[in-house]
C-alpha cells in the first residue's frame, strides 16, 4: 500500500514519521493473530493525524510499534528530526504516567534528571513557558500528582513529554477521561502548541468530534490493521478546536467519517 499522506503535504518538509510496509502479529502458542498488516504512513511537521477504528483493531499497537515498545515483524519505522538526526518521541497515555512520589516540578524535570547534559536554567525556563501555555499556576509545582485534578494531571503529563523535545507526540485517548469543558480547553491548548512549535502528533480516539476538531487528517483503521480511508480536514489553519465544532463543514465531515467508521465496525 502507498504511504497515506495528505494532498498538500510532502512538498517542502521532510516527514517526521515514515512507516513502510509494517507487519505485526501477536503470538499465543502456535497461533498468530495479525494486528497490523502492510501498513504505511507519513506524517509531516505541524500535522495532527487522528486514527479512528473499532476497539481492538490495532490502534494502540500501532502507537506502541512507533514508540519502539514492541518490535515489528516486518517493515520499517523512521522518526526523523529537522536536522536529519533520529527524532524523539513523546507518548501520552489515557492514564497519565506521572510518578506519584515526585512533585509536579520533579515530574516535569524528569528529562533533566535523565539527561544531565541538559542545562538546568534552560529546562526551568521551558517548564515555566509551558506552565503558562497550559494555564497552570506556579503553585502547582510543589504539589504531588495525587493533589491534582484529572485535567491538571493530563496537562502536567503533556508538559513532561514536551520537556523531552519530541518531534512526534503519540496520544492514546488522552482526553477521554476528562469532563467536556476541561477537554475543550486542553484540546485548544494542545492544538495551538503543536502548530506553534511545528511538532507532529498522532492521536488515537473514539470521539469523532474530537478527531475532526483537532486534526489535519483522520485515518480510519479496519480490523485487518490497515487504513481504509484518509480524510483531509480543512477547517482553516488558525482555527480553535471549539470553534471548529461550529463550522458549517463540520457536520459533513462527521457524516462521511461516521459512515466509513460504521462500515469498518460492522465488518
Amino acid at each position: 500500500m502507498t504511504p497515506v499522506v495528505s494532498e498538500d503535504q510532502g512538498k517542502g518538509d521532510l516527514p517526521v514519521l515514515e512507516v513502510s510496509a509494517l507487519d505485526f502479529s501477536y503470538s499465543a502458542g502456535l497461533t498468530k493473530t495479525p494486528v497490523v498488516q502492510g501498513l504505511s504512513l507519513k506524517i509531516f511537521p505541524s500535522e495532527i493525524v487522528t486514527i479512528l477504528g473499532a476497539s481492538g483493531c490495532g490502534k494502540t499497537t500501532l502507537l506502541n510499534l512507533i514508540a519502539g515498545l514492541i518490535a515489528p515483524i516486518q517493515g520499517s519505522i523512521k522518526v526523523t528530526a529537522n536536522s536529519g538526526e533520529r527524532g524523539r518521541i513523546g507518548y501520552i497515555f489515557q492514564q497519565d504516567a506521572l510518578f506519584p512520589w515526585r512533585t509536579v516540578r520533579d515530574n516535569i524535570l524528569l528529562a533533566l534528571h535523565l539527561d544531565p547534559s541538559r542545562k538546568k536554567d534552560v529546562s526551568e525556563s521551558r517548564m515555566n513557558t509551558y506552565l503558562e501555555t497550559f494555564h497552570l499556576p506556579q503553585s502547582v509545582l510543589a504539589k504531588y500528582p495525587s493533589q491534582l485534578s484529572g485535567g491538571m494531571r493530563q496537562r502536567v503529563s503533556i508538559i513532561q513529554s514536551l520537556m523531552f523535545e519530541p518531534e512526534l507526540l503519540l496520544l492514546d485517548e488522552p482526553f477521554s477521561a476528562l469532563d467536556f469543558y476541561t477537554k475543550l480547553r486542553l484540546e485548544a491548548e494542545f492544538y495551538q502548541l503543536i502548530k506553534r512549535e511545528k511538532r507532529a502528533a498522532i492521536l488515537v480516539t473514539h470521539d469523532i468530534d474530537e478527531a475532526i476538531a483537532l486534526s489535519d487528517r483522520v485515518l480510519i483503521m479496519d480490523r485487518s490493521g490497515n487504513f481504509t480511508e484518509n480524510f483531509s480536514i480543512n477547517l482553516g489553519s488558525s482555527r480553535d478546536p471549539e470553534q471548529a465544532r461550529g463550522a458549517p463543514e463540520f457536520s459533513s465531515y462527521y457524516q462521511k467519517i461516521w459512515k466509513e467508521l460504521k462500515a469498518v465496525i460492522q465488518e
Binding site: G90, Q95, F99, R102, L114, Y144, S146, F164
Partner: protein, 263 residues
Amino acid sequence: MNTTSHSRFTKTVGHFLLCLLPLLFFIFAWELATAWEPKRQFIFSTPLKVWNALITLTLSGSLFKHACITVWEAVCGFLLGTSLGAVVGLSFWHSRLAARIARPYISMIGSIPIFAMAPIIIVWFGIGITSKIALAFLPTFIVAVTQSYQGAMSVEQRFLRMMQVVGAKRMQVFRLLVIPSSIVWVVNAMKLNIGLALLGAFVGEFISSEQGLGYLIVKASGLYDMATVFAGVIALAAIALILTAAVDQLERYLLRWKAPEAT
C-alpha cells in the same frame, strides 16, 4: 481552638477512652478473679502486684537496663535485616534468574521457626549480644527480601513504558522508578519486622542470656514471681508500641505523596 479542631480533639479523646475500655474491663476482671484467692494469685498474680513490681523495677533501674538491652538487640537486628534485605530484594530486579534460584532457599529459611535456629546461632555467635542481634536479623532479612522483591516486580507497566519511550537507561529505571515505587513494600516489611525483631531478640535471651527482658522474664518465672513476669511482658508490649509508632511516623514521611485515605 476553633470549633472544628475542638470537635476533632473531643473525637480523638473519645476514641482513646473507648480503646481503653477493654483494657480496664480486663484489669477489673483480673483483680476480681484473684483478689481473694491466694492460689490464683500465685499463678496469675494480681494487677496491683504487677503495678508494684513495675514501680519497684523502674525505680531500681533494672527494668530500664534490661529493656535497653532488648531494644538495642532488636533495633540492630531490625535495621541490619531490613536494610540488607531491601537491598538484596531490590537487586533481584536486575536478574530474574538469580531471583528464581534464590526463591526456594528464601522460602525454606523463612519457614524455619526461629526457635529451631536459636541454638545454632548461639553456638556460632556465643551467648553475648551478637547472637541476639543475629536472631533478630534473620527473620527480618527474609521478610525484607521477599517484600522488596515483590515491590520491585510490581512496578506499574505504564511507568515502565514511559521510561522506555524516553530512552531511560536500566540503572536510571532502577534508581528513579523501581526503588521509589517499592518503598510502600519496604515500609510494609518494616511494620512486619518490628514484631519479628523483638521476637528474635527475646528468643535469644530466653534460651541463653544474662541480660535483657527475656532473661528477666525467664529468671522471674523460674522463681514463680509472676508479677515480675507480667512487668517484663508489659515492658515488651510498650517497646513494640513505641517502635511501631516510630515506623508509622517514618511511613507518614516516606509516603507523604500518597493521597489521604477517605475517612
